[in-house]
């Protein structure tokens, strides 16, 4: 999805980058898992065997297919309200990935803008922004996100805004440092002597050089966003509880863990798999893009 576009976008200037990406096992493996979830999310209505919110009180707590009390047509069993777990997992991937992309983009935009300004302008702008970052770091991120969503009201947009408001500092710190380093490079000096304006230099000269770094940060931030969304839906602050989210399913599972432990296992595994994939992809991209960043 956005991932693939970003990767090819970075790869186009140098033909070798694409080959190096494909030679990196972490990029390939992480990318494959990500594509798997992305396809599930995109084609959820086509591949989900049941309606994810449809309740069937006659079919509560049906165990998964490998158990002897399984029901045909319910591969991973049903939950406390007789809803199909597989279908809920597939629709849950939609929420998780949508939030991951949107929140990482929002946090990235905010943090990158402030980081570029702080790193390039320096002076009091840098002082103010850096001080703000420091104060931000003094907050418990999880609690802050919960409070933010509570203040703004539940819903996906609140979740996305909350993640952006909390995690912009990750982008800001890295981009600021990188911008300061880029500023020392010759090409910026020559752009200044040619008489280009500050904003133009930032936009045309520095930003493209920070881009590989941003792609890595974006991927890692998606992993964090998946976790935060799971946390928020675990405490019932993401979407209405009958709508399928992995966190919400885990929360239901915790309540009925003694009757039906399988309710919790699968959504937890989904979160772990997606987060591991995004981390592997991010780390792999960092390795693969590193020579580009040094150039």
């Amino acid at each position: 999805m956005a991932e693939a576009a970003a990767v090819t976008g970075a790869a186009s200037p140098t033909g070798g980058t694409a080959r190096r990406l494909l030679a990196n096992p972490r990029v390939v493996l992480g990318g494959a898992v990500l594509v798997f979830f992305a396809l599930a999310a995109l084609f959820a209505p086509l591949i989900a065997p049941h309606d994810p919110v449809e309740q069937d009180l006659l079919l509560q707590y049906v165990p998964p297919a490998w158990s002897d009390k399984a029901e045909a047509g319910y591969l991973f069993g049903t939950d406390n309200l007789g809803r199909d777990i597989l279908s809920r997992l597939i629709y849950g991937a939609r929420v998780a990935l949508f939030v991951a992309v949107a929140a990482a983009a929002a946090a990235g935009l905010l943090g990158t803008a402030l980081g570029l300004l702080a790193g390039y302008l320096g002076g009091w702008v840098d002082t103010v922004i850096s001080r703000l970052v420091e104060i931000w770091m003094a907050f418990p991120a999880v609690l802050l996100s919960i409070v933010l969503v509570a203040v703004m009201g539940t819903g996906l947009h609140s979740v996305i805004i909350a993640i952006a408001v909390i995690d912009w500092t990750r982008f800001c710190r890295v981009v600021r440092a990188e911008t300061m380093a880029q500023k020392q490079q010759d090409y910026v000096a020559s752009a200044v002597t040619v008489g280009l304006g500050r904003m133009r230099i930032l936009w045309r000269e520095i930003l493209p050089n920070v881009l590989p770094l941003l792609i890595v940060l974006f991927t890692l931030e998606m992993g964090i966003a998946v976790i935060v969304e799971a946390i928020l839906s675990y405490v019932n602050l993401s979407l209405a509880s009958d709508f399928p989210t992995w966190g919400g399913m885990i929360s239901d599972g915790r309540k009925y863990v003694n009757q039906a432990p399988w309710l919790m296992i699968l959504p937890i595994l989904c979160v772990i798999a997606l987060v591991l994939a995004l981390n592997a992809l991010g780390d792999g991209l960092k390795d693969a893009l590193d020579p580009v960043m040094r150039r």
């Binding site: 104060i135 003094a138 418990p140 609690l143 203040v151 405490v235």
Partner: protein, 336 residues
């Protein structure tokens, strides 16, 4: 260690605390949405709302509200909880010891476990032992604390480990009422070993869930620092002295690896404190993290505000603790 160093650190915390207070104010009052709307039930009348607004000083201008807010904070007045109808300060202080004990146990576990992993990895440098430690650390780190908490619960349920409690802080059958909230310390001091054992047993799983990510980071950073120290000349001298590899890794290299490790892992200790919010909720552990989620669900504005500030103070305290341990470990700073 010099007192001026400590004092300077304390003074530096003041502007940060002020900034935190400002942001909490902005978040809870200026953000779109009427805070009163968060407070009231569906059946409230116009008069009720006006009364509430006056009660919480929300009919004043924002600037004036801010002044009152700061004045109250400076006086230690956090207001009254709406859902519990009790002084926020009292409520928070009542639960704070629970979280502090949990965090300290978790930090001990993290340092112990991470330290052991690092020592094992450095001892078996370049052999399968080091690879195993690296792999374990990477795996642990990939899963956040709250998922570890849920995995532990699943584990206990699936394997029917009835001896390991997964909710609460002390067994219902144990009659022990502490004078303080520090049940672990107090039960030990009063030699109530049954109570101590029960609290410890209830604390193991949440503490372990909180500790695992930090342990993995400590293991990684400490192992790298030890390996770095092992290349130094004084290690050659230690070999000439005839010391065993275990002693060289554990005494000669470890001591020198501690300072860089504290520098690089310090922030992570605050993340552990932040993790209590969810982990306490998952294990129904009665600390301020659990209370915070309840406060949010009950839309208890004064309580939320008090708890966020309390967490910020805890963060700053942990940072201070890290700085102090840094100074204690560094011989160059001990004799300034």
């Amino acid at each position: 260690m010099s007192w001026t160093f400590l004092l300077r650190r304390l003074l530096l915390a003041i502007p940060t605390l002020f900034g935190v207070a400002v942001i909490v104010f902005v978040l809870l009052r200026v953000v779109p949405g009427d805070p009163i709307a968060m407070l009231i039930g569906p059946g409230a009348t116009e008069a009720d709302i006006a009364e509430l607004r006056r009660l919480y000083g929300l009919d004043e201008s924002i600037a004036l509200q801010f002044v009152y807010y700061l004045r109250d904070l400076a006086g230690g007045d956090f207001g009254t909880s709406i859902s519990m109808r009790q002084d926020v300060m009292e409520l928070v202080l009542g639960r704070l010891p629970v979280t502090i004990e949990l965090c300290l146990v978790a930090m001990l576990v993290a340092v112990g476990l991470g330290g052991a992993m690092a020592l094992a990895g450095a001892y078996w440098r370049g052999r399968s032992g080091e690879a195993a430690v690296d792999g374990a650390a990477g795996f642990i780190l990939a899963i956040p604390d709250f998922l570890w908490a849920l995995l532990f619960i699943l584990f206990v349920v699936v394997f029917a480990l009835d001896g390991l409690p997964i909710s609460g802080r002390i067994g219902h059958d144990v009659a022990f009422r502490g004078a303080t909230g520090f049940l672990l310390v107090e039960s030990l001091l009063r030699l109530r070993l049954d109570a101590f054992g029960s609290v410890l047993l209830h604390t193991i799983l949440p503490a372990l869930a909180l500790a695992l990510p930090l342990a993995a980071i400590v293991a990684r950073v400490l192992k790298t620092s030890i390996n770095e120290a092992m290349t130094q000349d004084y290690i050659l001298m230690a070999r000439v002295k005839g010391f065993s590899r275990a002693r060289i890794v554990g005494r000669e290299a470890l001591r020198n690896a501690l300072v860089p490790t504290v520098t690089l892992t310090g922030v992570q200790f605050t993340f552990l404190v932040g993790g209590t919010v969810l982990v306490e909720k998952i294990f129904s552990y009665p600390g301020i993290g659990n209370m915070a989620i309840d406060a949010v669900i009950n839309r208890d504005l004064p309580l939320i505000q008090g708890l966020v500030l309390t967490f910020a103070v805890l963060f700053i305290a942990v940072n201070l603790l890290v700085d102090v341990s840094y100074a204690l470990l560094n011989p160059r700073m001990r004799h300034g």
